[in-house]
Symmetry: C5
Subunit: 304 residues, 5 copies
């Protein structure tokens, strides 16, 4: 397929990036069943790090095998597959070139005693594994936030210099931030904006609620009805340079299929670029997961 | 326009700097409607980092778009435009060469649990984006002040070695410094002096009050009437190597236009080199902002 | 002996590794009396660091001499010998080439006031001593876990780049982890999985009990009988990419020979790749140790 | 003037230093009105950093201008001028070659919340500004003393490798050291000795009192009359490798002229190499300061 | 003298070291009056750093002069002279080649507020000063022990790569270690063993008492009579790879000559390689010190 106008427009927003980074964004945007639409669907499998293998894979034991996830992402026609070093290495040769991959470069775990992550891979790893992108999580609000940002900044600069795109998972957490504020609209938009300021090419945030957590921000949100999820998505997109950056939303914990589909519709209607969806697919039996992904793809294509 | 005597005099004070740094100071001093006067007007847009996107841009929603600020600075005939990485990148190509840019290299945010900042860009970024300068905030008084200074020092040396000028935002904060002292005259002059000692080419401080915060400094300020703002500006200029360094003052939070104009008159009459003015312009409708900037420019040109 | 199918299959799982790393894994897998079987028996002698020389070697004083351990490992036909810098250096020339060696690159000690280790060797040391692998201990759960992971990651990348394999000892400890949880099944499988995600070529964990320590993990383990040790081994193997990584188990403190043999049978029956066995051999008289190792080898060969 | 025997003897003590460092010590020892006598008089202007600009320069406002200090040091015929980066840069070209300069490479300030300093310049800066030496402050006794020493050590090694001499200001402070002990004789001699051990070419300490602060040191000082200041100077000189290192003493806070002259006589009679004198000169009107410096020079030349 | 068998045997134990390191060990082992015997007598003068100049040198004032110690070590026919940077530099040229020197690369002081040391010299310093070895102190048990080990490890690797031998002073201290345990036999043997594991070429420990401090170690020491000092020395030697590493013992605080001689006999009879003896010599008048050293040499030669 030749490059679509939708993709050309998105790429035009990355005006300060070198052709290498743009080529990798192009790879992701033109790949899979949503290729050319300007929408994305990404499979992330870092839950083994975050929650342990059994909580992640026992609901669907074939998923213990790293090859399972490559197969799932390829067969479902997704845009990209994201995972930590070991998971990618275990299939990088078998599936070389079959789907764009994103090497997740930092990770936390269930026992962490601070809101932070360890760097678990390098840009060299991403190059030698043929990845289109690298990914990082930052925790706006955390005591270690400044250090996380500096770490991500250095690796992002190195990645961009060799033509690799950067995806930032921006998850407010820790420090003075109340638990209730982690999903607040103002907090989520702020988290997305900071990821954009740091230089993320693709921004990943959670779908926000209509709660406003910061006292000083209440006035800025007053006089607008935030009860519809699509409106909130629209605001997050606005916070990402008025739509000049790709923003995808996470599916969160495994939940009912209907809720998953409604999220996709709201993301689409609010102008978001797509979903990163992990547990909701790989914790279901493969056939069920493929059917769900097919339905989501159709929603992003404009269907119901 | 050929280089004016006012600019030649200013550049002569940077006697230890290489031609590259002087050329970039020259670019800023000769650009825009104040070009050649020795006065400066800079648009800074780092409030998205500091206060979040909604508090910064909701009052004037077109300002969510990074292109808006480039347009505003260019159309108003300002001397330079300063912003963090993502904001500059999103327009660096479209507006290449149309206005000198300053890459802000560190940033804080509303959730910070310590008085510090994260480095969010590099000198290489400044070079590849064609910036005339890089900018840093330091917090004199903060527990992390020594570390901030060492970070800035290293980056400033690197920047100067490739001909890029350094702007230091010197904002007293944290540690043993009482809140009331942050705007005190003695504290502000000290903060400006330290920025000069570290090697700032352009020093940015807040307009100080007539409060004297340090007990040991009271004697040095005794016997002089500090009630006029222009006298206080004059003292800050004196603290910056008796006028051998460019000093600009910040406009602070959005306020009435009259107060803004009075500040400009006082800065001018005290011998300051100009203003960095952000929220007071981009949070107003564009026409209103352009009119305000036009008036400030006329004040710096010697009008009322 | 030409490469066996068992070894070829194992090596095929390291699909993203370079020929140098594979050649060293091949050296270990094809060496000694278990060479070619896909099973391993490794002698580790780092107890002098961990517990001091007298607690380690007084039960069998000839073991104070570093040459003793080289002799023991070679004469017993083991797969590899692992030790810290000084221990390897003291025999590296005399026994050069006679057995694959693994340089343990970090170490703790009995007086440690935090759950961490010091780096005590380098990849250059491993190269100049002709080692096939390097080894690290990580403490999942420890407050310093992120820092340990980053240290290991860097050295692992450097080692792999020069063709040296990495063995990770993953021992849950410290932080929020209760003492009782250190040997729990869920915790051990999680620790093994993280070692795999970080990029370990060989994973070493302790044999887990049937305790489940994490409340959130209980559901994932419900409905299965974990009372048999071989079932638990099987789960750990599953957690290591469904068997795509070599997993060996430690013998723990010195204990009765029968318990040691039963452990070996369970490891074998659960699909584990072998044992790392230290104190249970070198703290016994040499003849007794050789007889015990011979019996373990026979168990891994399929005997009783 | 050809090199005097006094200077040749001093240089002979720096037997492990390269010709570049010796040439710079030679420059300082042969410069100004004390040139060739083996005595030194140095003007330091780092008080703007330490106490702020107004407390430093308001008593004599022309001193706000960095050129003032170059002029003062040159006109008084001093041996060298020492200041932080910004102060030197602001006159480095105008006065190039007219007086040896020492770039002060670290600095504290009045708001510091720990007994430490920030590095505020580099050896490259010293080279490009044509400095003969670099200077550092260390705080023996401070909690951060080890870190300060390591920082100074690295920069001192770098400086020496390019032929630049190192001056160490050794000021006991912080940690377990009682305020009363900061000027104690045993503490001052210890501080001077540590500077010598670290490799200082010129050691700067404060004139000590006859107090002995360390209980364990009392015996070593017993049986000697320490009431005369010249005796105490002699002991400090002894503590600096029995006179094999140049030792200069600071004038301290501004005080009466007679006290200043008596200090100079005691330093001379005790075998010290001279004074570093800042506030006592630049806070006086220029004529008064020049007269005072003239008198001190005559004292070091052997007069009264 | 041609290399003796005693020295050849010792060198053969350093089988993984390069010829450069062996040549420097050879220099030390073949130098002075004990040259060729396999025994060593080293003069260390780092007490100025550790205790201050007056406590170190006031008992014998000529010792304030760095040349004094070179003379003493050379005239007494010692094996080597060890001191920090400044002390060595002050005589390195005058005495070049006359005695092997060891540059002490880290140092503590009486005011230290943590059990740690500062690095005060570099391997480059050792090379340019013509040193045969570098020395480090580590504090097993200290909270900062891991950091100290990593620092020493890096410098040791760098030193060995350029043919310089490493001496490690292993002094248990700090953390959970009770004061009473610092000289305990189990603790001292453990400290010596860790120095060997880290890669020390020469290990320096204190003569241990017969106290056993670690509860877990008591069993390993049971059933043996540790009342004789020579038996304890023997155990420490055993803990250093069964005699494959050179072990020397410190003389400790100044004490009666008879105690010093008895220590030497016990070290010799227990198989230790000699003494490092500082305050017991340089705090005595030179003639007395020379007589004492002569007697110690005769003891190590087999006399009484």
């Amino acid at each position: 397929m030749s490059t679509t106008n939708a993709v050309k427009t998105i790429l035009s927003h990355y005006e300060a990036d070198n052709p290498g980074v743009k080529a990798n964004l192009h790879r992701i945007l033109m790949h899979g069943r949503l290729g050319g639409t300007g929408k994305l669907l990404i499979l992330p499998v870092d839950q083994g790090f975050e929650h342990g293998p059994a909580r992640s894979f026992a609901p669907n034991p074939p998923a213990y095998d790293p090859h399972y996830h490559y197969h799932l992402a390829i067969d479902a026609g997704l845009s990209a597959y994201a995972a930590p070093l070991g998971m990618l290495e275990a299939g990088a040769d078998t599936f070389a070139g079959q789907i764009p991959t994103i090497l997740k470069l930092n990770s936390a775990n269930s026992w962490a005693t601070s809101a932070n992550q360890a760097v678990t891979g390098s840009v060299s790893d991403a190059l030698r594994l043929g990845c289109a992108g690298v990914g990082f999580t930052i925790y706006p609000g955390a005591d270690d936030f400044f250090a996380m940002v500096e770490q991500v900044r250095e690796l992002r600069e190195e990645a961009a210099s060799v033509g690799i795109a950067t995806v930032i998972w921006s998850y407010p957490r820790g420090g003075k931030l109340p638990k209730a504020g982690e999903l607040a609209l103002d907090v989520g938009a702020y988290a997305a904006h900071m990821a954009a300021l740091i230089g993320a090419h693709i921004i990943k945030v959670k779908l926000p609620t209509d709660h406003i957590a910061q006292e000083e921000a209440k006035q800025a949100y007053a006089g607008h009805d935030w009860s519809r999820q699509s409106e909130r998505v629209k605001h997050v997109v606005q916070a990402c340079f008025a739509g000049r950056r790709i923003v995808v939303f996470s599916g969160g914990a495994a939940k009912g299929a209907d809720a998953v589909f409604q999220d996709a519709r709201d993301i689409r209607d609010g102008g978001g670029n797509g979903s990163i969806i992990g547990r909701n697919t790989f914790q279901r039996p493969r056939d069920e997961a493929l059917a769900m992904l097919e339905r989501i793809i159709r929603i992003y294509q404009g269907g119901e």
